[in-house]
């Protein structure tokens, strides 16, 4: 089992009331699975993958990644896990504005053990995602689609076993969207576990399993 959530909940205090962003969700994602999480805006999809990735602490429940209860780890080990085991793709431009494409791709490697952060490897990954010609461009010089591709290359630099993608094709044109989805499918075939948040049912059909979130709760799991 690559990811397991056990009765996980996340509650926020807001305006005197309590909002249950994630409501006692239990789920299992197998090694090498491609899972799409769909649902309306505010249904808790982003919070769910953030909990899986160790970006936000659940109010209750357990989160196991490759058998490790990640919220029992100290900050050093949790940071190491995020760096080495998980690659994140966000729904917005997530590149560091003062670094060019190569250095953005190399960034996670500087926090991890091993020697994966060479410029040659960064160039190789940029070629994989189709933006090698933008290697020395800064984020402000890239289009939205190009930024998303660089971010995917960055997510791959430490050869993570899991990719957590939050609306990775949001705001992109259909052609770029299709190319990025093809890239995810190729990675999944290579054995990478992918959990992708999307509000598009059409994109979700590219995944092996669709999970639907509604008001913080998981509605159903279905094999496509």
């Amino acid at each position: 089992m690559m990811i397991e959530l056990q009765e996980t909940a996340k509650t926020y205090e807001s305006g005197g009331g309590r909002i249950k962003a994630v409501d006692n969700v239990s789920l299992k994602v197998d090694d090498g699975e491609f899972v799409a999480v769909v649902g309306h805006s505010g249904s808790g999809k982003t919070t769910l993958v953030s909990i899986m990735g160790g970006l936000t602490r659940p109010t209750s429940g357990r989160v196991l990644v490759a058998g490790t209860d990640i919220w029992t780890l100290d900050n050093e080990h949790l940071a190491r896990l995020r760096s080495e085991q998980i690659g994140f793709c966000f729904q917005f431009s997530s590149l560091i504005p003062t670094l060019d494409s190569v250095d953005n791709v190399r960034l996670p490697a500087s926090f991890a053990s091993g020697e994966r952060g060479s410029p040659a490897r960064a160039l190789e990954l940029l070629e994989t995602v189709g933006v090698k010609d933008k290697a020395r461009a800064f984020p402000a010089e890239l289009s939205g689609g190009q930024q998303r591709r660089v971010a995917i290359a960055r997510a791959l630099v430490n050869e993570p076993r899991i990719i957590l993608a939050d609306e990775p094709t949001g705001d992109l044109d259909e052609v770029t969207e299709s190319e990025i989805m093809d890239l995810f499918q190729r990675l999944n075939k290579q054995g990478v576990t992918i959990v992708m948040v999307t509000h598009s049912q059409n994109l979700a059909t590219k995944a092996g399993r669709i999970l639907t979130m509604n008001a913080g709760a998981l509605e159903a799991g279905a094999a496509v």
Binding site: L55, T56, N75, R80, R82, P108, N158
Partner: protein
Amino acid sequence: MVGINPKTDFTVGPWLKQNLNHTLGDNEIILGANAHIFLGKSESHPGDVEYFYGKPFTVVGILDPTGIGLDDSGFVTLSSVYDMAKGSEKTAIRKLEVNQGDISALMVGVDPNASRAEVAKNIEVLVPGVAVVSSKELMSSSISRQLESLTPGILLIGIGFWVISVLLIGALFSMIVNERRRELGLLQAVGATRKFIFRLVMLEAMELTAIGGIVGLALGSLVILLLKGPIASSMGIAYLWPGAWFIVLFAVGYLVMAVVTGIIAALYPAIVASRLEPYQAIRTGE
């Protein structure tokens, strides 16, 4: 031109001891910083030979500017003055009327704890025909006393400015951290630890305050250099630069203080930055 007894003089004596490896010789002269003007020259240099009443004197040193009358003077030995006066009958157009043993003034060094007024009164009583005059030294001492009484106030104002600068730099770094929330959250998402985020903010603060310190030091030095003339002439007191080591130590101390200010000011914003939860930082930084 001032004739001094090199063995007992204490006015230019300390300078002589520090800058001239030998006692002032009979045919040697030390010039004040502006004495060249009275010699009709644009500048004077050690080694130049100047003639007074037909007697040659070799310039052995130029005094640092002081802002007082010393700048316009030349210092020779008392015996040179007598020789010059004696020889002036033959070598000069007009004879110099100074006889062997004549003196115009006797400088008296007074113990710091003694009352100058009382010493002056006693001299006048004990040595008939001698008039004791208040020198500029006395005036500068009163200015010095005034400055001493102002010092605590200046110190308080300085501390006040320092506290304000700590608060301002702290507020500035809080704003920087707030504006860069998403970036800091993203760094954590790709593997940065809290310690790394803390160090990042602190190093940036140290770097910025060090640069600010260097710029401030350069600007402050420039202002002092440009204004030292007007300050000296307006106050009528000696305006001397401290020694090189003091200046170096002051500059280093000033820079260390600037960096320490940055460290103290950025401490709270750095702690806040390191405690940001990545997900919240990324969301609220959008």
